[in-house]
Protein backbone atom coordinates (compact mmCIF):
# COMPACT_ATOMS: atom_id res chain seq x y z
CA UNK A 1 0.00 0.00 0.00
CA UNK A 2 2.75 2.40 0.99
CA UNK A 3 4.76 1.58 -2.15
CA UNK A 4 1.81 2.50 -4.33
CA UNK A 5 1.48 5.78 -2.48
CA UNK A 6 5.15 6.61 -2.97
CA UNK A 7 5.14 5.75 -6.65
CA UNK A 8 2.03 7.79 -7.29
CA UNK A 9 3.49 10.77 -5.53
CA UNK A 10 6.90 10.51 -7.14
CA UNK A 11 5.43 10.06 -10.60
CA UNK A 12 3.49 13.23 -10.09
CA UNK A 13 6.80 14.78 -9.12
CA UNK A 14 5.19 17.38 -6.94
CA UNK A 15 4.19 16.00 -3.57
CA UNK A 16 6.66 15.75 -0.73
CA UNK A 17 7.65 12.35 0.56
CA UNK A 18 5.90 10.94 3.62
CA UNK A 19 8.58 11.47 6.31
CA UNK A 20 7.90 8.19 8.09
CA UNK A 21 8.00 6.14 4.90
CA UNK A 22 11.07 7.98 3.71
CA UNK A 23 12.83 7.34 7.04
CA UNK A 24 11.98 3.65 6.72
CA UNK A 25 13.42 3.53 3.18
CA UNK A 26 16.56 5.30 4.38
CA UNK A 27 16.99 2.91 7.31
CA UNK A 28 16.62 -0.16 5.10
CA UNK A 29 18.91 1.32 2.46
CA UNK A 30 21.57 1.92 5.08
CA UNK A 31 21.30 -1.76 5.96
CA UNK A 32 22.13 -2.51 2.32
CA UNK A 33 18.63 -3.18 0.93
CA UNK A 34 18.75 -2.20 -2.77
CA UNK A 35 14.96 -2.46 -3.14
CA UNK A 36 14.46 0.17 -0.45
CA UNK A 37 16.99 2.41 -2.14
CA UNK A 38 15.22 1.97 -5.49
CA UNK A 39 12.08 3.30 -3.82
CA UNK A 40 14.08 6.25 -2.47
CA UNK A 41 15.27 6.93 -6.00
CA UNK A 42 11.65 6.97 -7.20
CA UNK A 43 10.81 9.45 -4.47
CA UNK A 44 13.52 11.92 -5.44
CA UNK A 45 14.30 11.30 -9.10
CA UNK A 46 12.27 14.22 -10.44
CA UNK A 47 13.96 16.66 -8.10
CA UNK A 48 17.41 15.39 -9.02
CA UNK A 49 16.63 15.48 -12.75
CA UNK A 50 15.36 19.04 -12.45
CA UNK A 51 18.53 20.17 -10.68
CA UNK A 52 20.92 18.29 -12.98
CA UNK A 53 18.97 19.67 -15.93
CA UNK A 54 20.05 23.13 -14.87
CA UNK A 55 23.65 22.33 -15.78
CA UNK A 56 23.31 19.99 -18.75
CA UNK A 57 21.16 20.42 -21.83
CA UNK A 58 21.41 16.96 -23.36
CA UNK A 59 19.18 14.27 -21.89
CA UNK A 60 22.03 11.72 -21.76
CA UNK A 61 24.14 14.10 -19.66
CA UNK A 62 21.26 14.79 -17.28
CA UNK A 63 20.56 11.08 -16.89
CA UNK A 64 24.25 10.31 -16.26
CA UNK A 65 24.52 13.07 -13.66
CA UNK A 66 21.33 11.88 -11.96
CA UNK A 67 22.47 8.25 -11.91
CA UNK A 68 25.86 9.22 -10.52
CA UNK A 69 24.14 11.35 -7.87
CA UNK A 70 22.15 8.37 -6.62
CA UNK A 71 25.17 6.07 -6.76
CA UNK A 72 27.13 8.61 -4.69
CA UNK A 73 24.20 8.78 -2.28
CA UNK A 74 24.16 4.99 -1.94
CA UNK A 75 27.88 4.91 -1.14
CA UNK A 76 27.70 7.84 1.29
CA UNK A 77 24.40 7.01 2.95
CA UNK A 78 26.15 6.25 6.23
CA UNK A 79 27.21 9.91 6.41
CA UNK A 80 23.58 11.11 6.38
CA UNK A 81 22.89 11.84 10.03
CA UNK A 82 19.22 12.65 9.69
CA UNK A 83 19.39 16.04 11.39
CA UNK A 84 18.31 17.77 8.16
CA UNK A 85 15.78 16.70 5.53
CA UNK A 86 17.06 13.97 3.23
CA UNK A 87 16.31 16.09 0.17
CA UNK A 88 18.73 18.77 1.41
CA UNK A 89 21.46 16.18 1.79
CA UNK A 90 20.65 14.75 -1.64
CA UNK A 91 20.72 18.24 -3.16
CA UNK A 92 24.27 18.66 -1.89
CA UNK A 93 25.28 15.29 -3.32
CA UNK A 94 23.72 16.25 -6.66
CA UNK A 95 25.37 19.69 -6.76
CA UNK A 96 28.78 18.22 -5.97
CA UNK A 97 28.34 15.58 -8.64
CA UNK A 98 27.27 18.15 -11.28
CA UNK A 99 30.15 20.41 -10.30
CA UNK A 100 32.61 17.53 -10.68
CA UNK A 101 31.13 16.60 -14.08
CA UNK A 102 31.35 20.16 -15.33
CA UNK A 103 34.95 20.42 -14.20
CA UNK A 104 35.84 17.06 -15.73
CA UNK A 105 34.37 18.03 -19.09
CA UNK A 106 37.04 18.87 -21.62
CA UNK A 107 37.14 22.65 -21.96
CA UNK A 108 38.14 22.37 -25.58
CA UNK A 109 35.12 20.16 -26.38
CA UNK A 110 33.57 21.59 -29.52
CA UNK A 111 30.07 22.94 -29.32
CA UNK A 112 27.40 21.10 -31.19
CA UNK A 113 26.96 23.70 -33.93
CA UNK A 114 23.97 21.97 -35.51
CA UNK A 115 22.18 21.86 -32.16
CA UNK A 116 23.03 25.51 -31.60
CA UNK A 117 21.56 26.47 -34.96
CA UNK A 118 18.40 24.47 -34.28
CA UNK A 119 17.92 26.20 -30.94
CA UNK A 120 18.62 29.55 -32.48
CA UNK A 121 15.98 29.04 -35.14
CA UNK A 122 13.34 28.41 -32.50
CA UNK A 123 13.53 31.79 -30.79
CA UNK A 124 12.28 35.18 -31.92
CA UNK A 125 15.84 36.51 -32.15
CA UNK A 126 17.88 33.60 -33.42
CA UNK A 127 21.23 35.37 -33.30
CA UNK A 128 21.49 36.35 -29.64
CA UNK A 129 20.90 32.92 -27.99
CA UNK A 130 23.33 31.16 -30.30
CA UNK A 131 26.00 33.78 -29.80
CA UNK A 132 25.36 33.75 -26.05
CA UNK A 133 25.72 30.01 -25.89
CA UNK A 134 29.02 30.25 -27.75
CA UNK A 135 30.18 32.99 -25.42
CA UNK A 136 29.12 31.29 -22.20
CA UNK A 137 30.67 28.04 -23.31
CA UNK A 138 33.98 29.87 -22.98
CA UNK A 139 33.38 30.49 -19.29
CA UNK A 140 35.27 28.27 -16.85
CA UNK A 141 33.05 25.42 -15.60
CA UNK A 142 33.33 26.76 -12.05
CA UNK A 143 32.02 30.15 -13.18
CA UNK A 144 29.20 28.67 -15.24
CA UNK A 145 28.19 26.47 -12.29
CA UNK A 146 27.90 29.42 -9.90
CA UNK A 147 26.19 31.71 -12.41
CA UNK A 148 23.60 29.04 -13.16
CA UNK A 149 22.84 28.76 -9.44
CA UNK A 150 22.75 32.52 -8.92
CA UNK A 151 20.89 33.57 -12.04
CA UNK A 152 19.25 30.31 -13.06
CA UNK A 153 18.02 28.97 -9.75
CA UNK A 154 17.87 32.43 -8.21
CA UNK A 155 19.69 31.31 -5.07
CA UNK A 156 21.47 33.79 -2.82
CA UNK A 157 25.14 33.34 -1.94
CA UNK A 158 24.04 32.25 1.55
CA UNK A 159 21.75 29.59 0.10
CA UNK A 160 24.46 28.34 -2.23
CA UNK A 161 26.95 28.20 0.66
CA UNK A 162 24.52 26.22 2.78
CA UNK A 163 23.55 23.79 0.03
CA UNK A 164 27.10 23.19 -1.15
CA UNK A 165 28.74 23.18 2.25
CA UNK A 166 31.07 26.00 1.22
CA UNK A 167 31.75 29.09 3.33
CA UNK A 168 29.78 32.24 2.47
CA UNK A 169 32.99 34.15 1.87
CA UNK A 170 34.15 31.51 -0.57
CA UNK A 171 30.87 31.70 -2.50
CA UNK A 172 30.89 35.51 -2.52
CA UNK A 173 34.44 35.69 -3.84
CA UNK A 174 33.79 33.08 -6.50
CA UNK A 175 30.50 34.71 -7.51
CA UNK A 176 32.16 38.10 -7.80
CA UNK A 177 34.91 36.68 -10.02
CA UNK A 178 32.43 34.75 -12.15
CA UNK A 179 30.30 37.85 -12.78
CA UNK A 180 33.41 39.88 -13.58
CA UNK A 181 34.56 37.30 -16.13
CA UNK A 182 31.10 37.14 -17.67
CA UNK A 183 31.03 40.93 -18.06
CA UNK A 184 34.48 40.88 -19.62
CA UNK A 185 33.46 38.12 -21.99
CA UNK A 186 30.42 40.08 -23.14
CA UNK A 187 32.46 43.24 -23.66
CA UNK A 188 35.29 41.59 -25.54
CA UNK A 189 34.79 41.97 -29.28
Amino acid sequence: MDTTWIMTQSNAGTAAADPALEAERIRRSREGDPRAFEELVRLHQHRVFRLAGRFFRERADVEDAAQETFLDAWRKLATYRGDAPFEHWLTRVCLNRCYARLRAARPEAPLDEAALERRGEAGPDPTAPVELERLLARLAPEDRFLLLLLEGEGWTTAEIAERLGWTRVNVKVRAHRARKRLRKLLETP
Binding site: F56, A66, Q67, L135, L186
Partner: protein, 106 residues
Protein backbone atom coordinates in the same frame (compact mmCIF):
# COMPACT_ATOMS: atom_id res chain seq x y z
CA UNK B 1 17.38 40.85 -39.28
CA UNK B 2 19.53 43.12 -37.15
CA UNK B 3 22.47 41.63 -35.31
CA UNK B 4 22.69 42.90 -31.73
CA UNK B 5 25.56 41.98 -29.49
CA UNK B 6 24.25 40.23 -26.32
CA UNK B 7 24.57 42.19 -23.10
CA UNK B 8 24.46 41.27 -19.41
CA UNK B 9 20.67 41.19 -19.32
CA UNK B 10 20.62 38.79 -22.25
CA UNK B 11 23.17 36.63 -20.44
CA UNK B 12 21.03 36.59 -17.31
CA UNK B 13 17.95 35.68 -19.29
CA UNK B 14 19.89 32.94 -21.03
CA UNK B 15 21.12 31.55 -17.70
CA UNK B 16 17.57 31.54 -16.33
CA UNK B 17 16.29 29.72 -19.39
CA UNK B 18 19.21 27.30 -19.50
CA UNK B 19 17.73 24.00 -18.47
CA UNK B 20 16.97 20.63 -19.88
CA UNK B 21 13.37 19.45 -19.93
CA UNK B 22 14.53 15.86 -19.40
CA UNK B 23 12.47 13.84 -16.92
CA UNK B 24 13.16 10.35 -15.59
CA UNK B 25 11.50 7.54 -17.52
CA UNK B 26 9.79 4.58 -15.87
CA UNK B 27 12.97 2.49 -15.86
CA UNK B 28 15.31 5.05 -14.34
CA UNK B 29 15.14 3.83 -10.73
CA UNK B 30 15.64 0.23 -11.83
CA UNK B 31 18.70 1.24 -13.87
CA UNK B 32 20.17 2.94 -10.81
CA UNK B 33 19.41 -0.11 -8.66
CA UNK B 34 21.13 -2.39 -11.16
CA UNK B 35 24.32 -0.34 -10.78
CA UNK B 36 24.41 -0.40 -6.99
CA UNK B 37 27.63 -1.85 -5.66
CA UNK B 38 27.24 -4.54 -3.05
CA UNK B 39 29.11 -3.55 0.06
CA UNK B 40 31.63 -6.11 1.43
CA UNK B 41 29.67 -6.63 4.64
CA UNK B 42 26.55 -7.33 2.58
CA UNK B 43 28.45 -9.89 0.51
CA UNK B 44 30.14 -11.72 3.40
CA UNK B 45 26.99 -12.65 5.35
CA UNK B 46 25.14 -14.49 2.55
CA UNK B 47 28.39 -16.03 1.29
CA UNK B 48 29.14 -17.41 4.76
CA UNK B 49 25.62 -18.82 5.00
CA UNK B 50 25.96 -20.47 1.59
CA UNK B 51 29.25 -22.07 2.62
CA UNK B 52 28.03 -23.19 6.05
CA UNK B 53 26.63 -26.65 5.04
CA UNK B 54 29.77 -27.49 3.09
CA UNK B 55 31.96 -26.32 5.98
CA UNK B 56 29.98 -28.44 8.46
CA UNK B 57 30.14 -31.51 6.19
CA UNK B 58 33.89 -31.08 5.75
CA UNK B 59 34.40 -30.71 9.49
CA UNK B 60 32.33 -33.84 10.17
CA UNK B 61 34.27 -35.82 7.53
CA UNK B 62 37.65 -34.75 8.91
CA UNK B 63 36.49 -35.56 12.44
CA UNK B 64 35.26 -39.02 11.38
CA UNK B 65 38.55 -39.81 9.66
CA UNK B 66 40.45 -38.70 12.75
CA UNK B 67 38.32 -40.92 15.02
CA UNK B 68 38.68 -43.93 12.74
CA UNK B 69 42.42 -43.50 12.55
CA UNK B 70 42.65 -43.06 16.33
CA UNK B 71 40.70 -46.29 16.85
CA UNK B 72 42.84 -48.14 14.30
CA UNK B 73 46.16 -46.97 15.72
CA UNK B 74 46.55 -49.51 18.62
CA UNK B 75 45.76 -52.43 16.34
CA UNK B 76 48.30 -51.24 13.81
CA UNK B 77 50.91 -50.89 16.55
CA UNK B 78 50.23 -54.40 17.82
CA UNK B 79 50.47 -55.81 14.30
CA UNK B 80 53.72 -53.98 13.80
CA UNK B 81 55.12 -55.39 17.03
CA UNK B 82 54.61 -58.95 15.83
CA UNK B 83 56.36 -58.36 12.53
CA UNK B 84 59.64 -56.52 12.88
CA UNK B 85 60.41 -56.62 9.20
CA UNK B 86 57.12 -55.08 8.30
CA UNK B 87 57.53 -52.44 10.97
CA UNK B 88 60.96 -51.51 9.72
CA UNK B 89 59.87 -51.44 6.13
CA UNK B 90 56.88 -49.26 6.94
CA UNK B 91 58.79 -46.89 9.19
CA UNK B 92 59.46 -44.08 6.75
CA UNK B 93 55.82 -43.79 5.70
CA UNK B 94 53.86 -44.94 8.74
CA UNK B 95 53.05 -43.09 11.90
CA UNK B 96 56.35 -42.24 13.62
CA UNK B 97 55.06 -43.00 17.11
CA UNK B 98 53.87 -46.46 16.04
CA UNK B 99 57.27 -47.13 14.49
CA UNK B 100 59.09 -46.02 17.66
CA UNK B 101 56.79 -48.07 19.88
CA UNK B 102 57.30 -51.05 17.61
CA UNK B 103 61.03 -50.73 17.99
CA UNK B 104 60.73 -50.55 21.78
CA UNK B 105 58.44 -53.56 21.96
CA UNK B 106 60.95 -55.50 19.98
Amino acid sequence: MSHRRPDLDDARAWLRAHRSDAVPDAGFAARVASRLERRPEDELGPAALRLLPAALALTAAVGAVAVVRALDAPATTAEAATDTGTAEAAAPTEDLLAWVLGEELE
